[in-house]
Amino acid sequence: MALVNIACLAAKENKKILLIDCDLEAPGLHQFFKVKEGSKGFVDLISDVKEWISIEDNNNEEGYCQFMGEQLENYIEKNVNPVASNTFSLGMGNADHAGDNKTDFDKSVSIDLIKAGRFDNNYSTKLNSIEWLEIYKLAPSFFRTFAYCLEKSYDYIFIDARTGLADTSGICTMLMPQKLVLVFALNNQNINGVVDVARQAIDYRLSSNDYRELQVYPLPSRIENSANPYLQEWIDNYKEKFVALFTEKYMLDECNLSSYFDRSFIQYYAIHAYGENIPALYENSGSSNFIAYNYNSFFAVLKKDLPAWDILSIEEELGNERLASEHLNNGLELFYKQELKESIEEYLKAIELNPFYAQAYNALGTSYSFLAKYTEAINCFDKAIDLKADYAIAYYNRGLVKNNLNLSIDSLNDYTKSIDLDPSKAESYVNRGIIYLSDKLTALAEKDFNRAIELVPNLAKAFYNRGVLYESLNQNEKALSDYTKAIEIKPDYAGAYNNRGVVKGKLKLYDEAMKDFDKTIEIMPDSEIAYNNKGNIFKFQNLYSEALLHFQKALELKPDFITAKNNIESIKKVN
């Protein structure tokens, strides 16, 4: 039940979820969902895998991946919705369904499921005929590869398994997981059992060929809500055992699990003793009077991707978040003062305190990109997006960096994503338009520039770039108008003066063109392009010596300026 509830919480966050029912002797996950009758499941998958790998050419990692790529879909029930029984218990749904039926529960939550099997007459025969260890000996890296392949398609994969002494228990606890959640009740059999499973799983993974770290999360369950004189004694009991285990296995100086266990336990509520309910979907997870609170709290712990002993108390976490926010603000202040390296130090401190701080990663990426450290910048934006999937500005920023790296398709995709998430950001349209323009997709470019101008009527950059577009289409009057508008908005827009000068030159308005180039030079005294353009205007008017002087000045400003060199040559030939 804990597994289904936590999976549903993850699904509610729009994560892609797969559930696998490996509790093969007592399968039950399918009871929580609306599933098709007779579809294949895990037992069928393993039987078919056995056949597949018995062919020698298939028995290698490429072969396993091929199997997954081609056939895995046949065992997965896609997008199943949770259903619930006993909806009457909390006044949910229609009382007519009470107790005797499954009720559609929440269609907004959908999950992929690999059931235990078909549950037909052959189920137990098929299950008993599987020789798990033989399969393992034949293809030792199969289960590892299986896990890697699934990881590529899902954000979270939850595997339900028993930790008894069945072969599948070893596979599920040692081979498959990255995070091993061991649910136990407060009795010696359970506690000693899970501590031992944890010990064996850790030992196995430390010496296995699996590169993934294994995180173990013990989860005490059925904790009675009422005051009970034995409770603390039992809490101390399991805490002590796990502290000893982790300290020994991971060579820690100290291991404090108090904060972890304060946040990770499932209380006993009689109301949930019957049926297959998913209270995480309907209970108030903000109130500690509900079991959903426990699931939510544990899911928050799981998401941190930290070992249990590094989990902080909520109070400590809030304190860190506040401090992180201060560091972010300090960093932003430094960034605006152009103190980029110092800003990076502040952002790193923010991330150290709050590793899930998407805004800090985004700010860090921005500082890196200003320092032309593009790989680092992209990593930061990736992380920001990973933490906050709808983070439009991070997509936009990553688009900018990728554009700087000439990765125009990637950049285009990022701008598009940014626009999808935040259609009101004019700059995204302008930048996407520039890429369309460079790809000669002029209609799309014009649409984007128009949209940007609609959104922000005084966005000089949009007018400027639309001017470039019109110029490329020989629509010189329109180009002239856009450049003029850009200059009106931004009177020191050197590029717009220069480009307007070029258009005026084309229209043989030489005096006006000359004024625009002079203005460009006034704003940007080192503009070799403006000098070269000025030279061209002189040349058009057959004023060769003046032209030569300006081409020479352009070359002086940029000694590898080929166009200026060619212009000088052509003047010399004329003379």
Binding site: Y136, S169, G170, M174, Y204, N209, E213, L252
Partner: protein, 219 residues
Amino acid sequence: MAFEYSNFISYRREEQRNKFVKDFCSLFNTTTFDVTNLQEHFLDSNEIKGSPNFGEKIYDAIQKSYFFSIFHTYHYLNEANPWCAKELKYALDVEECRRQKLEEKDKAHFFSLNLFILSGTDKDLPDNIRNRNAIPISCYQHSIKKKTKAVNDFFSRLYDFMIDVYKIYQRYPHVDFVACCDEIVKPDDEVIKGWIREQKKIILENEAKQLPVLKKYGE
């Protein structure tokens, strides 16, 4: 010719362990600096792999390093990208070449190769380095950043081991340990790939013996 690097670090990047390797290397580089007094170490980064002289740069760096350190994982040897295997083969030849310059009493103590096992066991190591006291380090994955006592002890032992090797280098001021390796033949791609195939078979055979079976409590 002089040494340029304290240490050449050879490993195949695998996303999930990179952070651990990075943390480990930051302490390891301090150790190698303390031992050799050379600040620079060589990490065959992905960037350099794209460059046209990649191979030469790698061999040159191995030759100019006091030590060569491997972080071994299942994917260290990879037929599709045999660079790690080539580095290893070349480093072994460099070590042997240097050893030949030593007196008999030093030969037995001269090990310029450090072997760290990130995943798997020493049985999974390539046959030519299987019996060289490789050190499993994945047990430090959660303690490396905290610099626990166990971690400090580990690096202290590593320092002791490496300083002994360094002292051997220092005992032969007249030997050019870099130039003496000039004539070593660079590994042949096809031979290396064949060797990788053999080693991979051994690794899988070992893995098949390590059954994922939960045993009864107390056994």
